[in-house]
């Protein structure tokens, strides 16, 4: 109604209209003008918006404080607006969120992982793998939720210990540890760390400056930062972040700056390094996980980011893996097992080798004992050679050479037992042994005692017993004083005999006696005369003369007894006469040919006893 009249009112100057105007003026006064103005404002959108704009914030605030309806009513609109904004230009929203995204993402990753773990919790619950059981045990032990422990094992890190180690000696210069960390003797750890680095550098012949930067064993990592004089090593539980390496590098630089002189002149005194202890302590950093509520509308965004982060982390991890020594758990176990096997094998071989070596030495020692037990041989030194042993010593010329009595022994090479004897390579110096056996041997050789002379050695007394001639007795007197180790000569039981003259022709004489005794002169039946031309008889004569000559040289006497014999025909009385005649005739022949009559006699026996027509000889030399 107002609006209808409002525009026409000033334009209707009729008397009725005029009256109405006056009435309104009377009733409403000046306010009427304002009302009109108000109406105009409401009816004109531009003006109306202007009005609302002044109060809209306050109004919303007021309403929001009164009840929930406002957000209920607004949220579809806002959601619509946001999604339309992302659809049309996602970059804009991303840019707007950028400053808060980093921290938010980190927190959210953890939360998302936690959620994932929660989801899989039931699955894991049934899992029996040792790793999961270990985590479960940890959860029970520490009173944390299982998934939290899993998370702890994946994301959290803490630098538990920092070592400053002298590069050359591996000696510990300084050590810092987090309050709750459990550390073994840091001195020893320091040495072992150095040894391990050496070992790896040697074993994998790493070139140039490259060196071990990271060791990992289960949930522990050791980050190693090398400086020219010292090594900084940080023991980290969990997954150390990249900037930790930077921190170590900077610390390393400051230490080398501040302690340059001390490091160069280091002689084992680590006291001065107290000064840089705070630098090590600064490295004992840690990152603990935090829990925050997830904004629901972040979810989609998160999933995307998470995926790309995982990809990035994987890439980083792959790169880090190039200078880190890290093995998966099963790989670690397999490697450890094969190393262990190899070790066992090696140990067994070494044990066998040592045992065989010991046995061989033992056998060789037996041989040496055997040699030394032999009189006149002394081993002074032995040496191992490629093919056996070299044996040096002293050898009495009268002693047996070891080669003649030492048993062979198999050769043991460093590779194993070969089917070959060890060679014994002797090198002996001659010497005179004082061993009783050798002393006796030499005495026998020099003195040449007769069969009935007995030599003996009782301690330092040389005992000679039996019978000996005076000449030998004199020889003994000269000799015994030079016998090594002999102080006394005991001859109380030695009889001295007359010397038996030396008879050089004895053998020839004996032979002649033999020949002459075997020869006989044979007669015809009933005859007693001698045929002076008989070759046999003349040969016998020559033998007798030779015997006489030799006997003379030997100063010996010769006797010849001639016996005549007959056969058994004829009477005994005649036979007796015949036999006597036969002997006499042969005697006369010999005498006639120059054999001295004095040495020839006739035998007492006569007659036919031997039933032979002959004369026989029996010669004696004395």
């Amino acid at each position: 109604m107002y609006s209808e009249n409002n525009t026409s009112a000033p334009l209707a100057p009729e008397p009725q209209a005029h009256d109405m105007q006056r009435l309104r003026d009377l009733l409403l006064g000046k306010d009427y003008e304002s009302l009109l103005e108000l109406r105009r404002q409401i009816n004109t959108p531009e003006l109306h918006s202007e009005q609302i704009a002044r109060v809209v914030s306050e109004a919303l605030q007021l309403r929001a404080s009164q009840d929930e309806t406002l957000s209920e009513v607004l949220s579809p609109t806002i959601e619509n607006a946001l999604s339309r904004s992302i659809e049309s230009d996602p970059q804009r929203l991303a840019n707007a969120l950028y400053p808060v995204m980093g921290p938010a993402i980190r927190q959210s990753i953890q939360e998302a992982l936690a959620q994932t773990f929660d989801t899989f919790n039931q699955l894991l619950e049934q899992s029996l793998s040792p790793k999961f059981l270990g985590w479960r045990f940890d959860a029970w032990r520490t009173g944390r939720s299982y998934s939290e422990v899993v998370l702890l094992n994946t994301l959290e890190y803490q630098v538990e210990q920092v070592f400053l180690i002298h590069s050359d000696t591996g000696l510990l210069l300084r050590h810092a540890e987090a309050p709750q960390a459990i550390s073994k003797d840091p001195d020893m750890v320091s040495g072992m760390l150095t040894a391990i680095q050496d070992f790896i550098a040697d074993s994998f012949s790493i070139q140039g400056d490259a060196s071990l930067k990271r060791l990992r064993l289960g949930e522990l990592s050791v980050l190693i930062e090398r400086g020219p004089r010292a090594v900084l090593a940080a023991v980290v539980r969990g997954n150390p972040p990249g900037d930790l390496v930077e921190l170590l590098t900077e610390t390393q630089e400051s230490i080398h700056q501040q302690m340059a002189h001390t490091l160069v002149n280091y002689e084992g005194d680590s006291e001065p390094f107290v000064r840089i202890h705070h630098l090590l302590e600064d490295c004992l950093v840690s990152q603990r996980q935090q829990r925050v509520k997830t904004k629901p509308w972040f979810a989609g965004l998160l999933l995307l980011t998470l995926l790309s982060l995982v990809a990035y982390w994987g890439y980083q991890h792959h790169r880090a893996g190039q200078d880190e020594l890290a093995l998966g758990q099963s790989e670690q176990q397999a490697a450890a097992q094969s190393l262990q096997d190899e070790l066992e094998q090696k140990k067994k071989l070494q044990q066998l080798a040592a045992q065989a070596e010991r046995e061989q030495e033992q056998v060789f020692r037996e041989r040496i004992k055997q040699i030394n037990a032999e009189p006149g041989v002394v081993v002074v030194n032995t040496d191992k050679t490629e093919t056996g042993y070299r044996i040096e010593g002293l050898l009495d010329p009268l002693a047996r050479h070891p080669d003649t009595f030492v048993e062979r022994m198999p050769l043991l090479t460093r590779v194993g037992v070969r089917d070959v004897d060890a060679t014994f390579d002797y090198s002996f110096q001659p010497y005179v042994s004082a061993e009783p056996a050798m002393v006796m041997k030499r005495a026998h050789l020099v003195l040449q005692p007769a069969k009935n002379t007995v030599l003996n050695l009782r301690d330092s007394v040389f005992v000679v017993s039996g019978v000996a001639e005076q000449g030998w007795r004199n020889k003994l007197e000269n000799y015994w004083r030079n016998m090594p180790g002999v102080t006394t000569l005991d001859v109380s039981r030695l009889k001295v005999a007359e010397p038996t003259p030396v008879r050089e022709h004895t053998a020839a004489i004996n032979r002649l006696v033999d020949t002459i005794n075997r020869a006989k002169y044979l007669f015809g039946a009933g005859r007693t005369d001698v045929d002076e031309t008989s070759p046999r008889l003349n040969q016998q004569l020559r033998h007798i003369k030779e015997l006489l000559r030799l006997a003379q040289v030997n100063e010996q006497a010769v006797r010849i007894i001639l016996t005549g014999n007959t056969d058994q025909s004829g009477s005994a009385r005649i036979n007796e006469q015949v036999s006597a005649d036969r002997a006499v005739n042969v005697r006369d022949f010999l005498i006639g040919r120059g054999v001295p009559a004095a040495i020839i006699s006739l035998g007492k026996k006569r007659g036919s006893e031997v039933n032979e027509r002959s004369v026989t000889y029996w010669v004696r030399v004395y």
Binding site: T169, L172, M188, G191, D198, G268, E271, E361
Partner: protein, 176 residues
């Protein structure tokens, strides 16, 4: 407190680990566990009134393919070279190790002590007088020891430590 790095050297199974174990922990075992690489131990002692920590590097003995890693010898202040009196070959190894040590840079300043170990098995020893003479002629201390019966073990280490104090003083004197 002065720290020094000491290396235990010698052929395998001569008793390096056993000597260290006897010295540090006063125990002995008949079992043989060959050392892999290096095992580091430590012992504190007082020499001529001076407190000292010995870091004992027990290095695996390996002589068929004989190669002690020279890196392991780096920075050592002194060494004990162990010989098994019952095995002649360990003497040869000891002598080549001795030469190796002396050939190190500054090797002539590194004191050496020879341990003739397994003295409890002396009836089975195979060392000749001449071999002992060769050892003594190096000018190094030669000490009979038994890790089993704890004979001469302390003496081994304290003799070496004594030499370290001596060389330490000399080099300090040279600098000051």
């Amino acid at each position: 407190m002065i720290q020094k790095k000491i290396c235990m050297l010698g052929s395998f199974s001569v008793g390096k680990t056993s000597l260290v174990k006897q010295y540090v922990e006063s125990v002995f075992s008949d079992k043989y566990h060959t050392t892999l690489g290096v095992k580091v131990d430590k012992k504190q002692l007082t020499v001529q009134g001076q407190a000292m920590t010995l870091m004992l590097w027990d290095i695996a003995g390996d002589d068929d393919f004989f190669k002690v890693r020279p890196t392991h010898l780096r920075g050592m202040a002194g060494t004990i070279i162990v010989i098994d009196g019952t095995r002649r070959y360990t003497f040869d190894v000891a002598m080549s190790l001795y030469k190796m040590v002396k050939a190190l840079p500054d090797g002539h300043n590194i004191p050496v002590v020879f341990a003739l170990n397994k003295a409890d098995m002396k009836s089975q020893w195979v060392l000749s007088e001449e071999m002992l003479l060769v050892l003594k002629e190096t000018g190094s201390a030669v000490i009979e020891s038994s890790a089993k019966d704890d004979l001469g073990v302390d003496e081994l280490f304290s003799t070496l430590a004594g030499k370290l104090v001596l060389t330490g003083n000399i080099s300090k004197g040279a600098i000051g």
